[in-house]
Amino acid sequence: MAQNTTSPRLEQPGLHLSGLSRHFRLGRETITAISDVDLTTPRGSFTALIGPSGCGKSTILRILAGLEKPNAGTVEVHGQALRRGAGDGPRLGIAFQDAALLAWRSVFTNIRLPLEVAGLPVDPKRIGDLIRLVGLEGFESARPAQLSGGMRQRVSIARALAVEPEFLLLDEPFGALDDITRQRLNLELQRIWSARPMTTLMVTHGLQEAIVLADRVVVMSPRPGRILASIPVDLPRPRTLDLLRSPEFHALQDQLLEIMYSQSAVASGED
């Protein structure tokens, strides 16, 4: 929690995963989800974790969320061992692909949920601010069933920010949306994040959104998941849709595609 003003924010430790492995038993077989994953990111940086489905990227996220325990390896967030829940560690905010809104709650009370669970004080004005931040003014008392898919994900993002997290986990937050809505929400997410950078890990299989949002794109191999490459994205912010037509963007995209394709070729060659 030390607010060390002398060293720049980015040089403080953010996420630090070391030798992380996780396997599941499926009947007689043991399935290795991730194997010996090392990853270090600076505090306050946005990391996109990308890879084919089943590569274990969601497993990493679930371990970081305290929902699963690794079979081996350690996890540190902001220099502290991971602690489940609100405890003493850095505050976590999380959003899933399935918005996971509670059907019986309004937009307002859904956003309030993490505060209730973590036993933090509820400031209605701040929740109102969050609702404005994600552009849902006027929908405070609407129920999830009355919202579109995009609006539900906006609620989900606002809910992730409710605890004023220092550490944000996003599991394909816009994965179930159409392209146009997803692009718009990605730009909005960038705006929200840039105003208040948090150590962020986003799991996705969209190259484009990874490049638009992240400071660093980490590419994972098909199962068993290992980290193939960690590529910095040195594109100026705020990144706009014009960026998608720039040569820098395409160069980066090609580089990432090459890493991913070379690996899937190897994988299918092995089969």
Binding site: L67, R84, G85, I94, A100, A103, L113, V117, A118
Partner: protein, 263 residues
């Protein structure tokens, strides 16, 4: 939107009335032509004639008594089922046992248990007991089903913010249980009513639908038997609808109502 709503409502009513007329016409045809002279099924006009002849008071007296027994059984049976479900909630290991109790309760032959209750407690006790026994299983299974209805991501969300089992229960699982529970409580209404009627068949009382039906049967009062059958059917339907309305008030978010209102 409003235009569309009132239009579709008009169609709903047209459909209901059309169906009713169709059923009535079919009934008349079967009773008056196909089964004419057999006394198996009275024509609608004969049935209404019997209703008027017996008088509303006659039916109200018998049905009222049975309704009261059924309501008491409904209350106790549901209370017990919810109590068992609550125990499963506190000690999940008990779920297998609870399901077994439910299944056994469903398999108890009512006509064997009833007389025992009659001997032990007498009067309305068999009727209340059988009504309670009839609702116990549906409500218990509905409640157990409901308690496992919570969606994984919602539970994960609570866990990620540091909530334990108790918090998951309070914030997610109890609410997730409501739709299945309301459905079960609805189905339990006709089940409980029927249980109360069967209980009266066992004797020991001189009023109630079961008693009146037994007498009508022995006197070959076919019209009266049918009048009771149709009235009790309508009352069970009304009870089912009443629980539905209560459910809509208490849990308007229930996905079971999503097809209406949304869009």
């Amino acid at each position: 939107m409003a235009q569309l709503d009132s239009n579709s409502r008009l169609w709903d009513w047209a459909f209901v009335i059309g169906t009713a007329l169709f059923v009535l016409a079919g009934w008349w045809l079967v009773a008056g032509v196909v089964l004419a002279g057999t006394h198996a099924l009275p024509t609608p006009d004969a049935l209404i004639g019997k209703l008027i002849e017996d008088g509303a008071g006659f039916y109200a007296r018998h049905i009222g008594v049975t309704l009261w027994s059924g309501a008491q059984g409904y209350f106790w049976g549901n209370l017990l089922a919810l109590g068992v479900a609550a125990m499963v909630l506190l000690v999940p290991e008990l779920e297998g046992l609870a399901t077994q109790i439910g299944v056994v309760s469903k398999c108890l032959p009512l006509v064997a248990i009833g007389p025992i209750i009659l001997v032990v407690a007498g009067d309305r006790a068999p009727s209340i007991f059988l009504a309670g026994l009839s609702v116990f299983f549906t409500t218990l299974i509905g409640a157990l089903l409901g308690l496992s209805a919570a969606k994984r991501p919602a539970l994960d969300l609570v866990a990620a913010y540091g909530g334990g089992r108790w918090m998951q229960l309070r914030k997610v699982r109890l609410y997730s249980a409501i739709p299945a529970l309301i459905g079960a409580l609805q189905i339990a209404v006709p089940a409980g009513f029927l249980g109360a009627i069967v209980g009266e068949y066992l004797g020991g009382v001189d009023t109630g639908v079961g008693v009146a039906l037994a007498i009508a049967q022995s006197q070959l009062e076919v019209e009266r038997a049918w009048a009771f059958a149709i009235l009790t059917g309508l009352i069970a339907l009304a009870g089912y609808g009443l629980v539905d309305q209560v459910g809509r008030r208490l849990a308007p978010w229930n996905p079971a109502y999503a097809s209406e209102g949304a869009s």
